[in-house]
């Protein structure tokens, strides 16, 4: 067996760590108790005794009604939050009846393109009862939740949950919508500002480093790119006159959990320390809540294999364990069938049970940061902190993040990561069981394969529903709401969310809302269709 002498992100590692390797460590300055600055050891004094991490798995398939059934089953199985993912048209801000969407509606997530979709999705699920997390376009999610709260007479201030905010890198990875980047930044900033006022318990700003990590980024790149994006949005909000303490405590980071066990634990700890110092000393946050970073984790999808599927359950368990030992606030396990599809209920249940077994059987929740003080882990935590900060400085030294994104700078980082990972698997420096080592013939490799192969058909019912919506709505009310939205978009000091809510209530679709906002940012044609036809 070859001996690995660096971590996954290339940090050279000695065979053993001793007290002198952490001679620099000052307990009060660098660690602090859990619940105290700089929160390296966790954000709550008693950690999981006080607040168990939120346990959830991803859901979204078929129609909003079908996904509603799935959510109810998962809640009945003991899930403590819901986690919804939009289908691929939704993630690209397209309606279910868009010509390019017809091959994918409801197959890789749930379609959410009008207020009715959100209404059906959340029927019977209390808005203030469980944490509602979303991988879907943030401005639409927040506008729809605020509309539903109004309809149900619920207090929007009591809505908990989160939504990903991904303006900078979405074009380069798998959530492209081809809208102008300045418009994406505007929607991101307005969403955070609106929530700071009206949904104070909702994390409208989840810095999503997960989907970009899925191309093969290492832990240092993941931290650095996440920080660059978060800092760009924070600076834009500050420039708009929004005070740091009004929104900073509702920023959360969504990170991956790779198979490099200790490096991943160190990563979560390093990020909390970076964040606390950055918020207090650089951005001048006064409220201690702004210094405490909420971290949520989705275990790595790219670490799973299409061969020997049961091994993926093992991978998910180790990765989730790293997230828990790293003191994270919510953990989702990537289900064993995800190399093939969004999870089946069977696979999602195994993923949920993985978390419940860690919580109920392993006993690791008894003590906060149980690995704190380990010579090796403290060494790694500092290495990751320093390397990530150095990369942030390097990137920010090259220019404004928005301009860098437009110039293809980040796309290059992603493309290099893809090539690097492929080469490491091909030449064997990165062992992947069942792929480049310990392989099995297809005849033997049958366990769980039936589950993974069940397929979802395109939801024609949903496509028809959206077409019907266009026929039955009031065209005058719709035109009025959309023209008001256009006017609002042309006024950069106005917040777009109330005008989007008005449009959604008039049964405008996501594409129509997007088009109205885009009128202030240049192209009038549908940027995806223009390219495809």
């Amino acid at each position: 067996m070859p001996q690995d002498v660096t971590t996954d992100s290339g940090i050279p590692v000695k065979p053993i760590y001793r007290p002198e390797d952490v001679a620099w460590l000052d307990y009060g300055q660098d660690l602090g108790d859990s619940g105290s600055y700089p929160y390296t050891r966790g954000i709550h004094p008693q950690m999981f005794r006080e607040r168990p991490w939120i346990m959830r798995v991803l859901a979204g398939e078929g129609t909003p009604k079908q996904t509603n059934q799935r959510l109810r089953k998962l809640l009945a199985a003991g899930q403590t939050g819901i986690d919804v993912i939009g289908d691929s048209p939704t993630m690209s801000w397209l309606d279910s009846d868009h010509p390019l969407a017809l091959g994918s509606v409801g197959t890789q997530g749930v379609p959410l393109c009008c207020l009715d979709d959100y209404r059906e999705l959340l029927e019977g699920i209390p808005l203030d009862g469980v944490s509602l997390s979303w991988s879907a376009p943030a401005a639409f999610v927040v506008a729809a939740l605020a509309c539903l709260a109004q309809e149900r007479g619920a207090d929007p201030a009591r809505i908990r949950g989160s939504t990903i905010l991904i303006p900078l890198y979405c074009e380069d990875c798998s959530y492209s919508n081809r809208q102008p980047i300045q418009m994406r930044m505007r929607l991101a900033v307005d969403t955070v500002e609106y929530c700071a006022r009206h949904l104070p318990n909702f994390h409208a700003f989840v810095e999503d480093a997960y989907y970009i990590s899925e191309v093969g980024l290492n832990a240092v790149e993941e931290l650095a790119l996440a920080l660059v994006e978060a800092r760009a949005i924070i600076r834009t909000l500050l420039a708009k006159g929004v005070s740091i303490d009004s929104f900073a405590h509702r920023i959360a980071f969504l990170l991956t959990a790779r198979m490099d066990f200790f490096e991943e634990i160190a990563k979560y700890r390093a990020l909390r320390r970076i964040w606390a110092r950055m918020m207090r000393d650089e951005f001048g946050a006064k409220d201690p809540r702004s210094w405490r970073l909420t971290i949520t984790v989705h275990t790595s999808g790219i670490s799973l294999t299409a061969s020997q599927l049961p091994n993926n359950i093992v991978r998910g368990a180790y990765e989730a364990l790293a997230a828990v030992l790293g003191g994270c606030q919510a953990v989702e396990v990537c289900a064993f069938d995800e190399p093939f599809r969004v999870p089946t209920l069977e696979a999602a249940t195994v993923a949920l049970r993985t978390l419940q077994i860690i919580a109920l059987e392993t006993g690791i929740t008894r003590v906060a940061d149980p690995l704190g003080g380990s010579y090796y882990l403290e060494f790694l935590t500092r290495e990751l902190e320093e390397r990530a900060l150095a990369m942030v400085m390097e990137i920010e030294g090259k220019g404004g993040p928005v301009e860098l994104a437009e110039s293809g700078y980040f796309a290059n980082i992603f493309h290099r990561a893809i090539a690097r990972r492929h080469e490491a698997i091909r030449n064997g420096t990165k062992a992947v069981v069942g792929v480049n080592v310990l392989t099995m013939s297809p005849d033997e490799d049958t366990l769980l394969r039936q589950v993974a192969k069940t397929r979802l058909e395109v939801s024609t019912e949903q496509i028809e529903k959206v077409r019907e919506l266009r026929r039955r709505r009031d065209p005058i009310a719709l035109a009025k709401a959309l023209s008001h939205l256009e006017e609002t978009a042309h006024d950069p000091s106005a917040n777009l969310i109330p005008a989007i809510m008005e449009a959604l209530r008039a049964d405008a679709t996501m594409e129509e809302v997007t088009r109205a906002v885009r009128s202030a940012y240049g192209p009038t044609q549908d940027p995806i269709l223009r390219r495809a036809l």
Partner: protein
């Protein structure tokens, strides 16, 4: 040999497509990377304009179930005899049979190696040379 690489419909997972494009480029093929958000029409148009000799489709979603038959039909209607190759980790054995019945020349499922892909392209290249370049 000029190889066009594309995704179909809303499929946005480019890791596989970019990896295979890199493998082919490193082996000396001329790769035209068309990328995401393509339809049968846009692929056929690019194949005509760029004189592609192979069309490679990457699948990490099920969009191909709708769009691939349309692509094969469209190529036939244009009289374009360009071989189509499909690759993707989500493809099952049934998908492979279905794709081959549609006239797809090569199917690469999970576990395919770069060597297998390259040797298939080399065989396409040889047969292409024997009967002359497959242009219109």
């Amino acid at each position: 040999m000029r190889v066009l690489i594309s995704l179909l419909g809303m499929d946005q997972h480019e890791v596989g497509a970019l990896t295979v494009a890199g493998i082919l480029r490193d082996a000396g093929y001329e790769v035209l990377y068309l990328g995401r958000f393509q339809t049968p029409q846009s692929i056929i148009r690019a194949a005509l304009e760029e004189d592609a000799q192979v069309i490679g489709i990457s699948c990490y979603s099920w969009d191909f179930r709708l769009f691939l038959p349309q692509l094969m039909e469209g190529l036939k209607a244009e009289g374009l005899k360009v071989p189509v190759v499909v690759g993707g980790g989500i493809l099952s054995e049934e998908d492979e049979r279905w794709l081959r019945a549609l006239g797809v020349r090569g199917v690469f499922r999970a576990g395919s190696t770069p060597e297998q892909i390259l040797s298939f392209f080399a065989s396409l290249d040889r047969s292409g040379q024997r009967r002359g370049r497959p242009t219109r």
